[in-house]
Amino acid sequence: MNAVGLIFADSYDVAIDELTAQRTLAAIPFGARYRVIDFKLSNMVNAGIRNIGIITTQKYSSLMWHIRGGSFWDLDRKQSGIRFLPPYAYEGVNSNYENRLEAMLAHLNYLKECREKYVVFGCCNYVENVSYEEAMKLHVDTDATITCIYTKNPINKSKNLHVTTYEIADDGKITGCYFEDKLNGSQKNVSASTFIIKREELIQLIEKASRSGGVSFRNDVLVPLIKEGKVMACEAKRPMLFIDDLSCYLKSNLKLLEPDTRKQLLKNEDRPIVTRVKDSAPTRYGKYAVVTNSIIADGAIIDGEVRNSIIFRGVRVKKGAVVENSVIMQDSTIGTGAHLNYAVIDKDAVIQDGRLLSGYITHPFFAGKGVVI
């Protein structure tokens, strides 16, 4: 595909501070072995995009280490590949940026140096397996200026956060864009914050919006174009799982326990979701292991009970421990006789023998990276 990809690694309009305290949004672990950015990256690579810029502002160290030179996605190429776009990297890029317009303005030189005709750009506040080829076909066929990807089924979108919705005419043209206080049942079309546009047009629009004092991509670029009738909508038809807050994050992880979600999101052989290779050993189940309805990553050692849970690489669930309805991230240990229910345990945590840690689906219990409880 003759397009450059642009990924905003940071959070806009999400409230998942627990998991972003030490890492940028895009680096949040998800689904037993992935990080959130793996989905966006893989979608782009699967669509034939070979040149991808990642705009970061802070705490992007684990993201850089995860992606390295991009070789896991065959993106360590000579003439293209992954390019990190952090603050201060370029002359004139001197400060952090608060919104997408500012971020793109800061890295306009990157966009100018690319040679691709189109730009596919978007945020990382959900995971999905989407076909950008179809969106691009629609974009080219309808001769739109911008095509916006949206969903009619925003799975696990928070009801307490601002949300951008579209009004869409029968011909697929977007006729309105609303920034609403919160999600409610009446909204049909929720923005996926992902867009397709000609590269040179994007550059012009950003420069123009910036000259006239604009501060928001939505208000100062998108809305005026909608009024001109130049914006198309493209529906993402496969499940789109949002991670707006910790409860949404837990629910979206557990959603993978449904075979159909797993199939559409992870198991599509033509559209693999690729992640960093870890050289883990096989999962080892002990004599006392009782695992049901769970996803277990490689390198885990399970000798306790695990039900309705997502277990990351290298996790150890000891004999007599019970884990239910929880997400246990990489290399954490659940001690003998400990009992976890509706918990999200970040990396490298140690839950000692006999602890009972229980939240609820709307208010999961959370243990931070490396904590010992």
């Binding site: 075979p259 096989p282 004599k287």
Partner: protein
């Protein structure tokens, strides 16, 4: 980055492995899958990498396609280097005609040019068909300290098995005084592992002499080692005491797989200080279903398991449906085991389909039942009969 390597490894991966048939019908023995995620050759290559050896020539000959593809650029083992790295060395034709590799020594002889490019002080010769975790660097240090021309790694075997091996007799300093290939009356229990370190000059000299001798079978064990010993070269044995398994037969292959399961497995695969690297196929995390009971087993990625699995090794992307009972078996990648199946003491090769309700039971006193690659089984198989 330097223009020289201290030690280059040459890995003999050309064997046909006929005693492992039918697992080796389409693939070379070193490429046979092992322990839920690996191939047999991963152990030797990972040993090299973990021992600090970053230049490995892999000599191939028999059914190399899948092996070549598996090795690829060497990137899974971090051996995709600009200087050094992993190189596949197939047989070739030269101006004066070419030939397949004759014996193990001839295979190395034909690739002296490869060795010379790295100008190594030492050459490590390995075979790609054993399962072990060995730090070759310790052996190399001993070789250097002894000022040896050749050092041969040995393991201690039970006396009654010694006549199956090449047996070393050594003096009190470990210097080899006698070597007997499969002796009827072994004088010691130190058996060669087929792992040799040579000082490069000695290796090249003896390979050239061996090649010039028309009566030689060009084999290290049969020809080169005895010739060096006869010449009074300084040859030492290096006693290795860790885990080591020959996986030359179906039952030894099965047993070595079983070594990787259990609370305290004999073969530890998740030692962060000695990783076994392997090539990842695309997959996703495994799902264990509502009806599953998986115990005392190891499993790769991408499986969907809804049955009972015990004392078993499950590779990648296998589907095991409910009401099925798998005991003491090896299920390779992409297999589909239907509902109500019972499997006991079997090896189900890649891509096989076991239909609902089938029972497969091996005879534990013999080899496990082998279900061949991509086959479809709809009738019962009992007591060691072959499909």
């Amino acid at each position: 980055m330097l223009s020289k390597k201290k030690c280059v490894a040459m890995l003999l991966a050309g064997g046909q492995g006929s005693r492992l048939a039918p697992l080796t019908t389409y693939i070379a023995k070193p490429a046979v899958p092992f322990a839920a995620r690996y191939r047999i050759i991963d152990f030797s290559i990972s040993n090299c990498v973990n021992s600090g050896i970053d230049t490995v020539g892999v000599l191939t000959q028999y059914q190399p396609l899948e092996l070549n593809d598996y090795l690829g650029t060497g990137s899974p083992w971090d051996l995709d280097l600009r200087f050094g790295g992993l190189h596949i060395l197939p047989p070739y034709q030269a101006q004066k005609g070419g030939d397949w590799f004759k014996g193990t020594a001839n295979a190395i002889y034909q690739n002296i040019k490869f060795i010379k490019r790295y100008n190594p002080d030492y050459v490590l010769i390995l075979s790609g068909d054993h399962i072990y975790k060995m730090d070759y660097d310790i052996m190399l240090q001993e070789h250097i300290e002894n000022g040896a021309d050749c050092t041969i790694a040995v393991i201690d075997v039970p006396l009654e098995e010694a006549s199956r091996f090449g047996i070393m007799t050594t003096d009190e300093k470990g210097r080899i005084t006698e070597f007997a290939e499969k002796p009827e009356n072994p004088k010691s229990t130190q058996a060669s592992m087929g792992v040799y370190i040579f000082s490069t000059d000695a290796l090249i000299k003896y390979l050239e002499e061996d090649e010039a001798n028309p009566e030689s079978e060009n084999d290290f064990g049969k020809n080169v080692i005895p010739a060096m010993l006869a010449d009074g070269q300084k040859m030492y044995a290096y006693l290795y005491k860790g885990y080591w398994r020959d996986v030359g037969t179906l039952s030894s292959y099965w047993a070595a797989n079983m070594d990787a399961i259990g609370d305290k497995p004999e073969l530890v695969l998740n030692d962060p200080g000695w990783r076994i690297y392997y090539r990842h196929s695309f997959n996703y995390p495994q799902y264990i279903g509502e009806n599953a009971l998986v115990t005392n087993s190891i499993c790769g990625a991408g499986n969907e398991i809804d049955g009972k699995v015990n004392n078993s090794v499950i590779f990648n992307n296998a589907i095991i449906e409910k009401d099925t009972d798998i005991e003491g078996s090896i299920i390779m990648s992409e297999c589909h085991i239907g509902k109500g199946v019972k499997i006991d003491y079997a090896i189900v090769d890649h891509g096989a389909v076991i239909k609902d309700g089938v029972t497969i039971i091996g005879d534990r006193s013999g080899d496990p039942v082998i279900i061949e690659r991509d086959s479809v089984v709809s009738g019962d198989i009992m007591e060691g009969g072959r499909k």
